[in-house]
């Protein structure tokens, strides 16, 4: 049976409705809908344990959904499993490469498994090693590889069959800012060449930099689905943090700021307030209003919003447990696409 979907019209790369996955008592994914247009990057943003990886594992045919349907380029993940596997590349959170083999041996083996001849597998492996700047390390034991090198090799292995849809599960977690910027450029190049990318991240900034659409998930549910600009409009581009001198003033300050900015204001440690701001220009208004009410301030900060604040703005409750709220350096990488990793 050979199936050729003959349509040039815009088929969605991913179309999922009501995906549910339950692990014992824990409903890891609780009714997720997802639509990803072909040729775009979709960023799935959420804290640890939000269900990001579980969603990817279902779409990548590793896990069976308990409910819901999903299609990859129009092919059902349940009934057309083997077709779906021909269309995807999966790069998990943990490098899935063989520690006992060298980088070359790993890539050649994966290529052979995908049906490449000996000669073609060799050519393909060398090509990918070169592309990802691993030629020098090609025959070194993987135990000597850095985290960044492993990620690259893992991604290279996912690209052997040049799949039209690539899943990247937290591709930059644990990478230093420079390596992270390169990984971002690599992802952009993939899309330039016609791939569709679904990437998960805990970093708001990363989703903002890369994604055409951002899906925010929390506790297995989609809490927001928007473009980066749309999302920023709803949560602000800046985060105002101030500490009042007298904790008794905190509630009053909350009311004033909330009224002025039309947002939810969070209070922590009785005297620390934080609120999203759509523009840093509003800071003067806030400070004036507080001064007029006689509220004295101890400290004022305007920072980029953290994931925790995004969640507070979207759900009205802080939900991020073990997230360290660290945002990546956000400079867009201008590196030339050629020789990125060399």
């Amino acid at each position: 049976m050979t199936i050729t979907t003959n349509s040039t019209d815009c088929v969605l790369a991913v179309e999922a409705h009501g995906l549910v996955k339950q692990f014992g008592a824990n409903r890891a994914v609780d009714g997720v809908d997802l639509e990803i247009k072909t040729g775009t990057i979709c960023g799935v943003l959420g804290p640890n344990g939000a269900g990001k990886t579980t969603v990817i594992n279902m779409l990548a045919t590793l896990l069976k959904p308990d409910a819901g349907v999903a299609k990859i380029f129009g092919h059902d993940i349940e009934s057309e499993t083997q077709i779906v596997r021909q269309l995807i590349g999966l790069t998990g959170q943990f490098a899935s490469i063989d520690e006992e083999l060298s980088a070359t041996e790993n890539l050649r083996m994966f290529a052979r498994l995908l049906g490449f001849s000996h000669k073609d597998a060799k050519v393909k492996a060398d090509e990918l090693l070169d592309e990802f700047g691993l030629t020098e390390a090609a025959n070194r034991p993987l135990s000597k590889f850095s985290g960044g090198m492993r990620r690259r090799l893992d991604l290279a292995a996912s690209l052997i069959s040049q799949p039209p849809l690539i899943f990247l599960d937290e591709p930059t977690t644990g990478l230093d800012p420079r390596t992270r910027a390169k990984m971002w450029q690599t992802v952009r190049n993939l899309v330039q060449n016609g791939s569709t990318v679904l990437l998960t991240t805990q970093l708001l900034d990363e989703a903002d930099q890369l994604a055409d659409d951002i899906v925010v998930i929390d506790k297995g549910r989609v809490v927001a689905n928007n473009t980066p600009d749309g999302l920023k409009k709803s949560i602000g581009t800046a985060s105002l943090q101030l500490t009042v001198k007298n904790p008794d003033d905190a509630e009053l300050a909350r009311a004033i700021i909330g009224n002025l900015l039309q947002v939810n204001v969070q209070i922590a440690k009785t005297s620390e307030l934080s609120a999203p701001m759509d523009s840093a220009d509003k800071l003067t208004n806030v400070l004036d209003a507080l001064k007029d009410s006689g509220i004295q301030l101890y400290e004022v900060n305007v920072t980029k919003p953290t994931l925790d604040e995004v969640f507070f703005a979207l759900t009205g409750s802080g939900s991020v447990g073990d997230n360290d709220n660290e945002l990546a350096y956000s400079g867009r990488s201008n590196s030339d696409s050629k020789g990125l990793w060399r």
């Binding site: 049976m1 349509s7 040039t8 594992n57 498994l113 040049q162 849809l165 016609g194």
Partner: protein, 272 residues
């Protein structure tokens, strides 16, 4: 990055099944991978090298006199027995080896690739044929050193190694099934032992069955396919002929395959 454009999903020729030919190719690739890893880590062959030496010497000098009157007379009985025992122990090792492999992240990648489901398992088990062959060669070499000269000659010896390797390969699917069903390497290893020991020892491999209690004797003579395999081997080595035991052992092993390949592949492919 290469600037080769990705072929859109709609322009690809896609199959929802894997052909037999591709399954076979995938299996060979996995077997090759397993061997490359094995040769990078030569200690992994220690068991199939040391065990036949140890057991052949130990059993021959411990039981030779008691069972057959003298060591030379015991050799035609014990060498086929040791051959069976080392091959079967080797195949039971597949359980812990597979369990360990399944827990690695590479398994996720294999499962997301358009390859034959059976191939990662079949590859590892097939690569073990090399281990069985090593065990077989060493068993006969040690036997020859202490005076064993099979009447049917070298060709019969090679045929026996091949035959016993095949039996062990079939049996390894049973151990693979155990590996799929348990959660830890330790459980896989002890589960395999619990099956391997009664099968190897409640047989005619080391001692004549005549003096065994009737229930054990019945099992050893009529049920245990490994007894049949040992009897068949003894006959090949002595006369160069194939007895009914040979076919019985072969059929028994194929039955194991028929039952455990589907069960094992299903357990492996199961998406939780």
């Amino acid at each position: 990055m290469t600037n080769t454009l990705i072929i859109p999903a709609s322009e690809r020729r896609l199959n929802n099944y894997v052909s037999m030919e591709f399954t076979f190719k995938n299996t060979l690739t996995f077997a090759y991978r397993s061997l490359v890893k094995g040769f990078k880590n030569p200690e992994s062959f220690a068991d199939v090298v040391i065990m036949p030496v140890m057991f052949t010497l130990m059993f021959t000098y411990l039981f030779g006199g008691a069972i057959s009157g003298d060591v030379t007379a015991y050799l035609p009985i014990i060498v086929p027995g040791i051959l069976m025992q080392t091959c079967v122990t080797g195949s039971s090792n597949a359980a812990s080896q597979l369990r360990e492999d399944m827990d690695k992240n590479t398994t996720s990648r294999f499962k997301s690739m358009p390859i034959a489901r059976i191939a990662p398992l079949a590859g590892i088990l097939t690569a073990d044929l090399v281990r069985y062959a090593i065990a077989g060669v060493i068993t006969f070499a040690v036997g020859a050193l202490i005076g064993y000269r099979p009447p049917a000659g070298l060709f019969a010896v090679l045929a026996c190694i091949l035959f016993m390797s095949l039996i062990a390969w079939c049996l390894s699917w049973l151990f693979a099934f155990i590996a799929m069903k348990v959660k830890s390497v330790a459980a896989a290893s002890s589960g395999a032992m619990l099956i391997m020991f009664p099968m190897a020892f409640l047989s005619n491999a080391f001692a004549p069955t005549e003096t065994m209690p009737s229930a054990i004797r019945f099992f050893a003579e009529h049920i245990n396919p490994l007894s049949k395999a040992v009897s068949a081997t003894r006959e090949i080595l002595a006369y160069g002929t194939l007895s009914s035991d040979f076919y019985f052992a072969l059929l028994g092993s194929l039955a194991i395959l028929a039952v455990f390949i589907p069960l094992t592949v299903r357990a492996y492919g199961k998406r939780r």
